[in-house]
């Protein structure tokens, strides 16, 4: 009885505390619904650390034009109602300028709310094709090419390497997995590629044998994977290699991390991923910012010598936000949503010092640009194999 009352008191007290934290005058606030738990937690956790590290790094180097960054976040494990709650809480208390959303569902759900906020712009983990609709999503943008654009980049690369090649697409049966499939079919036709097979697997699929059998019969030159994080990709590649198939494998951003493909062993060698960012591990430095990031990571996380591409995503996202604010301040404009939006839309051929693998240009709420990287299993790293591919 007494214990319960005490518990209640603690809970109320903590609620009160949580609403009383003061905000310093010239701080700029960024909000985030992090994705630390749940099915995508392993990727979201790295992404989150990338964001945190970038903000700390910026603060240690004087902030954005002298403004310190305050970062507030909550973990929601991919649950929309929780994310909405977190957004409202952070919005009520801090009115952040930028906010990172943790799922496509959340970013869609929050859109009306977001438009009603004073000054908040949102980007996040989603590359959903819908979000490129700038008329509906006036306050959201994508930090990279949309899933459809990613597929288009991969297909373009295949068409360049081998005109008229036979293509198979393997995707998961989920909102994420189904997103770009229609667009990809159209694009393949446009590029004169021969789409021989589209395989839908249930998410978390265990046995890929029959799918491999199908692929063996069609013997495609390229297999494109999309919609996987805890992938059956390795199993696909292994069985197909065991069968002696010479197919090349490709995958979209979330399927191009070091966490899965590098564990695939020899059969994963030569896997092609699409990235608008550079990887954390590169043969030679792509730029000054990249060096600074590595040095900073080494300083604060001496135990983590390598990072997957999700970390880069987080760092880059923070960087885009800071750049938008910096440019707006430089232009002498107040930090309103309209001004920030205009600044982002105007970003053209921005050199990120090696964080992005391409010059950054915003179009259609997104950065429809990418490069193809190739997995070199022996060296344990990805290597760029294509020039910048831009989708119009």
């Amino acid at each position: 009885m007494k214990k319960m009352l005490a518990g209640l008191a603690v809970a109320l007290l903590s609620l009160a505390l949580c609403f009383s934290s003061a905000l310093a005058e010239d701080e700029i606030v960024f909000g985030e619904t992090a994705l630390i738990t749940g099915v995508f937690g392993f990727a979201g956790g790295e992404l989150h650390e990338g964001i945190v590290d970038y903000f700390n790094y910026t603060n240690e180097n004087g902030g954005i034009r002298g403004h310190k960054i305050k970062h507030v976040f909550e973990d929601c494990g991919y649950k929309v109602d929780c994310s909405v709650a977190a957004f409202k809480k952070i919005q009520a208390e801090y009115k952040p300028l930028f906010y990172s959303g943790d799922s496509t569902g959340f970013m869609k759900a929050i859109n009306p709310e977001l438009k009603a906020t004073e000054n908040t712009l949102m980007s996040g983990v989603s590359y959903a094709t819908n979000l490129t609709d700038a008329a509906t999503y006036t306050r959201s943008f994508i930090i990279g090419p949309s899933y459809s654009d990613q597929m288009a980049i991969l297909l373009t690369h295949a068409a360049n390497e081998q005109p008229g090649a036979k293509i198979a697409i393997v995707h998961s049966d989920s909102g994420f997995g189904n997103d770009p499939i229609k667009a990809a079919k159209v694009k393949a036709k446009e590029l004169g590629l021969d789409l021989v097979e589209v395989i839908t697997t249930k998410s978390g699929s265990v046995d890929v044998t029959t799918d491999v059998l199908k692929l063996r019969r069609k013997n495609p030159d390229y297999v494109l994977f999309h919609g996987y994080v805890l992938t059956p990709i390795n199993e696909f590649m292994q069985q197909m290699r065991d069968l002696g198939l010479k197919t090349k494998f490709m995958g979209t951003y979330w399927s191009s991390s070091e966490l899965m493909i590098m564990k695939g062993g020899p059969s994963a060698d030569g896997y092609l991923g699409v990235m608008h960012l550079n990887y954390f591990d590169m043969e030679k430095s792509p730029g000054k910012e990249w060096d600074a990031m590595r040095a900073y990571n080494l300083k604060v996380h001496p135990d983590k010598a390598s990072r997957p591409n999700f970390y880069m995503f987080g760092w880059f996202q923070g960087m885009v936000w800071a750049e938008a604010i910096g440019r707006t301040l430089d232009a002498g404009k107040p930090l309103t949503a309209e001004n920030l939006r205009a600044t982002i839309n105007a970003i053209e051929n921005w050199d990120t010092g090696g964080i992005a693998s391409v010059p950054v240009t915003f179009r259609n709420n997104s950065i429809p640009v990418g490069r193809i990287f190739r997995a070199n299993i022996a060296k344990g790293r990805y290597e760029p194999v294509s020039e910048t591919i831009t989708i119009n």
Binding site: G41, F42, D173, D211, L213
Partner: protein, 292 residues
């Protein structure tokens, strides 16, 4: 109709089915003894696969040691579960017992994430990879060897339960608890024993699945099909577990091969609905006699 493809798919499906049968057997052993439907079965598979990863991958034990050690650890986890949270619930309403195992599954997922992190893992390869060709017919050796191991374990179990003292005690308890108690069988020990053995079968299947399907704290979802298998075969029927496992494994694979992966769950759950309408207690389950 591509008959070669059909045969190849059927073989792959039956191999998956053999592993399903192994999990289902573990499930049925637990159900027969304690009347508990274990919704945490997928998570026990997942944790056991992490045990194997730890022993074989991190401690670098040889396979002959790591595999049995992981299986036994999975069994001990089952025994511990029975002792701590299942035993106090015996005799409670089915809903309470189901929910306690669902609670357990949440605890196991969180624990796995805390201990091993949320990232995907690849188990050290211990299955042969050379493709097998039976004439024209291709069989993935990984899945074929998984099935062989599962079948070997199944046979051991069946022999054990038929001929050993422990097996007799288990069967006696399953058919009449009060009578077995009066004959000097320690019913609580049999319960514990059933959980240990049931979870050992589950653990092995978990390792086999993860060996080709990859592993993460959320891999437990793979066990959803097992619930279909046991209801389809009959909750208290070992024969039902074996036949149900093979049929469901086969059906799932064939539907996936010919219609697409998105129809797999639909197909097996539709079959489940049909069987519930036609034979409410599954193919081989016994109907409970109701009394006033």
């Amino acid at each position: 109709m591509d008959w070669l493809f059909f045969i190849e798919s059927s073989l792959a499906g039956l191999c998956t089915g053999a592993i399903y049968a192994l999990v289902a057997l573990g499930f049925v052993i637990i159900y027969k003894a304690t009347k508990v439907i274990n919704f945490a079965i997928g998570e026990i598979m997942m944790i056991s696969a992490y045990f194997f990863l730890t022993f074989a991958g991190i401690f670098a034990w040889p396979l002959w040691l790591a595999l049995p050690a992981a299986v036994v650890s999975g069994g001990l986890l089952g025994g511990l579960t029975e002792k701590t949270i299942i035993r106090p619930m015996l005799g409670e309403s089915p809903i309470s017992v189901i929910m306690v195992t669902i609670g357990l599954s949440n605890i196991l997922v969180g624990t796995a994430q805390i201990i091993w992190g949320g990232g995907p893992q690849v188990l050290p390869g211990f299955l042969p990879r050379q493709p097998i060709f039976l004439g024209e017919i291709y069989v993935s050796s990984k899945i074929a060897f998984s099935a062989l191991i599962a079948v070997a374990m199944l046979i051991c179990y069946l022999l054990y339960f038929r001929f050993s003292r422990g097996g007799v005690a288990l069967r006696a308890t399953a058919s009449d608890q009060a009578a077995s108690f009066s004959m000097g069988i320690s019913v609580p020990r049999v319960f514990n024993f059933a959980w240990i053995f049931g979870c050992m079968a589950t653990a092995l299947a978990g390792i086999l699945f993860s060996a080709s399907g990859g592993l993460s704290p959320h891999s437990g979802g793979m066990a959803l099909a097992i619930l279909v298998v046991v209801i389809f075969g009959g909750l208290d029927s070992i024969l039902g577990a074996l036949v149900g496992g093979l049929i469901i494994g086969w059906l799932e694979t064939i539907v996936g091969a010919f219609w697409g992966g998105e129809y797999k769950m639909l197909a097996i759950f539709t079959l489940l609905t049909l069987i519930l309408v036609i034979k409410p207690y599954g193919l081989f389950g016994t109907k409970e006699i109701e009394r006033l």
